[in-house]
């Protein structure tokens, strides 16, 4: 049994250039060849990456005071509504907000060509964005309306602040009951079990390489959108109580991260507005983590391969929407990545929503940053809630308003 490594020791190696970094994909083979003990001695850091639609994302912007001053109460960025219920010139632009006047699903399936995620991508790309705002006017903020171009370089602050990213595992969507293709946040799901749509980087995914949140916690430095940012809380719907397999890997959606990062340091390659036909707008975002190989256990966790990770197959034509039924089965990411899975005696083609090419590129980028001494590891100031501490994932306690409220 090796002695453990500390964060300080690993960071000292990063500074001296002696650090050994591999990606989570490479770690599968390293542990396969050397065994856990030797791999833990040799490797200091394992990098992960994921790039896929992450709806619960958005950005805070402070656009600076105008003359005369104005407390904006309603605002639009390129005609996409932004939340203005904050101080005078602070806004929050949510990724899934769609353009005012978008036909939505009135002509089904709607196209959702432009929304908050596209505004964020345009800002990151350095494009001018039109800000329109109105206000009721006060003694201290007399201005009532504004219509102006803004540019990220002129904003006081522009930072991404995402309530939920990097889901630890996710459903595989199929369409068992509808007599037509369905349009979901998991893409177009073909009728008659005609497709199985999945969305995880599997063996490269951050939280699948740290199943019990030993390394990734509050204060962890991460790759976000091409910049260095942080985990600032557990993500919404963080549910460590999801059943786990013998490796401790959740067999369905489980942990999540709240993340923050400076939009001004980001790159539009990793911050991409996407339109999900018939569903809406989302943000395809690149996230990566650097996991310290503190001991053999971390070497073991980070050696997880696609064959070791299974995801639940869920019907999205009825069961998901109505909260009915059980998963139709479980399938490994190795099977999903083969291009075809067996389900109910049939061969079902698979289609991913998450780019493995980009996930790999993020893990490689992070590796090169660490090797160049540009990215050091930060020890969490507080761990994410564990299975023991978490109340789990609650459904809404629906209380019809006809009944007496007032608790």
């Amino acid at each position: 049994m090796m002695l453990g490594k500390s964060y300080d020791e690993i960071n000292a190696k990063i500074r001296s250039g002696e650090v050994v970094v591999v990606t989570a994909e490479e770690m599968v083979d390293v542990v396969g060849e050397l065994g856990v003990a030797k791999a833990a001695e040799k490797v200091d850091v394992v990098t992960t990456g994921t790039f896929g639609p992450m709806c619960s994302s958005g950005a805070f912007l402070n656009f600076g005071h105008s003359t005369p001053r104005m407390k904006v109460t309603q605002a639009w960025l390129n005609e996409v509504p932004a939340y203005a219920g904050l101080a005078a010139v602070d806004l929050y632009i949510g990724a899934t907000e769609v353009s005012a006047g978008d036909p939505l699903n009135r002509s089904h399936p709607g196209r959702f060509n432009y929304g908050g995620a596209h505004v964020i991508q345009d800002l990151v790309a350095g494009k001018d964005v039109r800000l329109r705002g109105i206000a009721y006017g006060t003694d201290c903020y007399p201005r009532r309306e504004i219509d102006t171009w803004i540019n990220i370089k002129d904003l006081n602050e522009a930072y991404m602040c995402n309530p939920r990213n990097a889901y630890q595992n996710y459903n595989v969507a199929v369409n068992k009951f509808a007599d037509r293709d369905i349009y979901t946040y998991m893409g177009v799901v073909k009728k008659d079990l005609g497709s199985a749509n999945y969305c995880s980087a599997g063996q490269l995914s951050p939280l699948l390489n740290d199943p019990h949140y030993r390394a990734i916690g509050i204060g962890t430095r991460i790759f976000i959108g091409g910049a260095q940012g942080y985990v600032f809380w557990q993500g919404t719907q963080h549910d460590p109580t999801t059943p786990r397999n013998e490796r401790g890997v959740p067999t369905g959606g489980a942990g999540t991260l709240s993340t923050v990062g400076d939009l001004k340091q980001m790159d539009p390659r990793w911050v991409v507005g996407v339109s999900m036909l018939g569903y809406g707008v989302s943000l395809a975002l690149g996230i990566g983590t650097a996991i310290p190989i503190l001991d053999e256990e971390m070497a073991w966790y980070t050696s997880v391969s696609d064959a070791d990770i299974v995801a639940p197959i869920v019907d999205y034509s009825r069961n998901y929407g109505l909260n009915e039924g059980e998963p139709l089965g479980h399938v490994s990411y190795a099977e999903l990545k083969s291009g075809e899975i067996e389900l109910e005696g049939r061969k079902v083609p698979t289609t991913p929503l998450s780019s493995y090419v980009r996930a790999r590129e993020i893990a490689e980028t992070l590796k090169s940053w660490i090797e160049a001494g540009e990215f050091e590891l930060s020890e969490p100031v507080q761990p994410l809630p564990s299975a023991e501490e978490s109340p789990g994932f609650k459904m809404l306690n629906y209380r019809p308003v006809e009944e007496e409220g007032g608790e």
Binding site: F51, G52, P53, P109, R111, N113, D181, G187, V188, K190, G194, S195, N197, V272, G273, V274, S275, M276, L277, S282, A284, K337, S338, G339, P349, T350, T351, P352, L353, S354, S355, Y356, V357, R358, R360
Partner: protein, 135 residues
């Protein structure tokens, strides 16, 4: 035997003319209609696979041009912007001909214009809008 995939644009005046049947009765070519519709501009649009000897195919195309049909090769019609494509794979399952497929090793999404029949289904399905269709 060769096959040439072409896009035919029929101006409004030609919509009631039996251009295709006249063509195949004059030239020794077979045809496979991959797509046909009338656009919003009341122009007829047809995607056609022409089979036969290369010389016959070219003469048939020339004949249709003489009738007033605008003809362009299919491979110029559906275009992928590789800068915009993220290789996610959302398009693979909707592509009816396998023109969009995943390389199982590199995990890149391949676009094989030879197999594309310009149905256009991928265009609104592509989340970052990397696919476009130009007729």
């Amino acid at each position: 035997m060769a096959e040439r995939r072409i896009v035919l644009h029929f101006p409004k005046e030609l919509l009631d003319q039996p251009v295709i049947s006249t063509t195949v009765s004059r030239y020794d070519v077979g045809f496979n209609i991959l797509r046909a519709n009338i656009t919003q501009d009341q122009e007829g649009l047809m995607v056609l696979g022409l089979q036969g000897e290369l010389g016959e195919i070219e003469s048939a195309i020339e004949f249709m041009r003489d009738q007033g049909v605008r003809v362009q090769p299919l491979d110029q019609d559906v275009v992928r912007d590789d800068e915009v494509c993220t290789d996610c794979g959302a398009c693979i399952v909707v592509c009816p001909t396998g023109a969009l497929s995943m390389d199982l090793e590199s995990r890149e999404v391949n676009f094989d214009a030879e197999k594309c029949v310009a149905c256009g289904i991928c265009v609104p399905v592509c989340p970052p809008r990397a696919m476009s269709i130009h007729f």
